[in-house]
């Protein structure tokens, strides 16, 4: 399993026909005052039908921006997006607002981090679920009501008929996340974009929601893009994962391989800063330093200043994803050393 070196073949190993949604060289820049922030800088990935794909990284690394850019949910002013997001033979980034609206909520749904603020406080839960159905389906009022009850059952809410009549504030955090899921699933989407869906929940509820997501994937056969800062969550859920750092994917691999033999020093750092149960991991090992300022990015590897393996050429090379093993790519010149030297 040694790396193939700098000049290794870098084409995508997987069959593009099997891909439901593929992202090529996505770039998102924000204009903040006079400065430009490259929030997402050349991100590419692809999701298969029925797959749970993970994106992991710390706050501000561009995870959420990536997800929102996919379905055009970033603010219109001061933001520019480029690249290609292919879904159903179309480039979503070139679709007009009208066509995008037809996709959103119907074929590509989204659940968000904080179920407290993503539900409308003044509308009953039934209204919020049924409204999604009204927008995208031809069901009549009675059918929508039935479907809402069915959805509440699907996401595991007891007494659905009664709870549908309640307002969001009458639900607990975990229950609200279930409601958000019910809304997102209302029209039977093919892709569910989950933006830190469990971050605002406590650990036991988090576990319930994750199991629910997995069950829903199995039952409904949809694909899920799961974004999280928690490698533990990603490891529990995903088949393949991309690690993001400072707006770029720094490593992508099947999850088992990523955990067993990480090939980027940042991933190694993430893994060793995870809390564990064994005696050796009494203390968490932090990654020294802080991510680079997104307004003053220098050429070369963006992790160089924090990297224990840094060489002089790290600061000058045009970084790209190198094939470290089949299906395993790393944006590190010394990827063959990264796992063994540190883990």
């Amino acid at each position: 399993m040694t790396g193939d070196g700098v000049l290794a073949d870098r084409t995508v190993a997987t069959d593009p026909d099997a891909m439901l949604l593929s992202v090529h060289d996505l770039r998102v820049t924000f204009e903040v005052g006079r400065q430009t922030v490259k929030a997402v800088d050349g991100v590419s990935f692809a999701i298969k039908r029925g797959e749970i794909f993970g994106i992991v990284g710390e706050s501000g690394c561009g995870k959420s921006a990536t997800l929102r850019a996919l379905i055009g949910l970033l603010p219109q002013s001061g933001v520019s997006t480029s690249g290609r997001v292919e879904y159903g033979g179309r480039n979503l980034l070139e679709l007009g607002e009208r066509s995008l609206r037809r996709l959103r909520g119907a074929e590509i749904s989204m659940v968000f981090q904080d179920p407290m603020t993503f539900l409308n406080p003044v509308l009953r839960v039934s209204e919020q679920i049924e409204e999604a159905l009204k927008q995208h389906t031809t069901l009549n009022r009675a059918e929508r009501r039935l479907r809402a009850v069915e959805l509440m059952r699907l996401v595991g809410i007891a007494l659905p008929e009664r709870r549908l009549r309640e307002y969001p504030h009458q639900f607990s955090g975990g229950m609200r996340q279930r409601v958000l899921l019910a809304i997102a699933l209302a029209c039977g989407p093919k892709v569910l974009l989950a933006d830190e869906p469990t971050t605002a929940l406590d650990v036991t509820i988090q576990d319930q929601i994750l199991k629910l997501l997995k069950r829903l994937r199995d039952e409904l056969g949809m694909s899920i893009v799961l974004v999280s800062h928690d490698l533990g969550v990603i490891a529990q859920m995903c088949e393949r994962v991309a690690v993001m750092y400072a707006g770029q994917v720094v490593e992508s691999a099947p999850i088992r391989e990523l955990i067993r033999s990480p090939r980027h020093p940042y991933t190694v750092g993430l893994l060793s800063s995870l809390p564990g149960l064994d005696a050796n991991s009494r203390y968490l090992v932090p990654i020294p330093g802080a991510p680079p300022s997104m307004t003053e990015l220098t050429p070369g590897c963006r992790f160089a200043d924090r990297c224990p393996l840094v060489l002089d050429e790290c600061r000058t090379w045009d970084t790209e994803l190198l094939e470290a093993a089949p299906g395993h790519r790393s944006r590190c010149l010394r990827h063959e050393l990264a796992g063994g030297g540190l883990a």
Partner: protein, 294 residues
Amino acid sequence: MSSLPPDTAVRTPVPIGPPRTAYSWVRWRGRLPFIVGLTIVLITFLAAVFAPVLTPYDPNSQDILNALAPPGTPGHLLGTDQFGRDVLTRLLYAARIDILIAVGATSFCLVTGSMLGLVSGFFGGRVDAILMRIVDIVFAFPFIVLVLTIIAILGPGLRNMFISIWLVGWVPYARIVRGEVLVAKRQEYVLAARALGFNRRRVMLGHLLPNVLAPAIVFSMLDAVNNVGLGAALGFLGLGVQDPQAEWGKMISDAQNFLATTWWLPTIPGLAIVFFGLGLSLIGDGLADRLRPE
């Protein structure tokens, strides 16, 4: 084991929760102003509707022999005015006009002002700039001066009074709602609504409006009080309701010449204005407490 109390002891139901009487008293006391306000407005409304049943007189029929009779005169419970018209009758019929002003003038302003504020705040940019400059200009003039100016152009009368209030009165609603929208549109449920593929109109009317309307509704109650006052003031100045129609402000102005001798004549409609205004204010207060989103 044997030292433990028997299982049944644990299972005996224990009353849980705050003491019932104290709790319900607090709730009731909290709602009292709202209930009182509602009662006052309801009484006024019913009195206006059932005016022909409550008094045998026509508001304009004269009992010349009994002119300026004091309250308590047999057949004229609140006395008569200088033309011998029954004060109670006129008071009740006047309530119709004043309620019409409170509801008609205010609801129109509430609706148009809120809509313009919603559009202004939601779209921002040029639309917002133009609308808000208009609002600034209207705000720069004293409200009553502007209303008087418009009536001066259109001519006195009830209809023109409505038109002039409509033209000026939407402004505060637009400003209130716009401010609320600026905050609410950054809320995440708006993003969530967009993520469901809802169009702008649905996001605006279905999701934003219910969240931003509460302050405007509360303000509309105060505004209704002001409009009743304004209607009375215009009636007093002779620019609103015209003779011989009864209106509270008009009744006061008609009676002003007799202030020294028959002080009750202007006082009675004055009290009616205070009574109705108090009711509206209390409702506004109560709504302010209730409409706060949880």
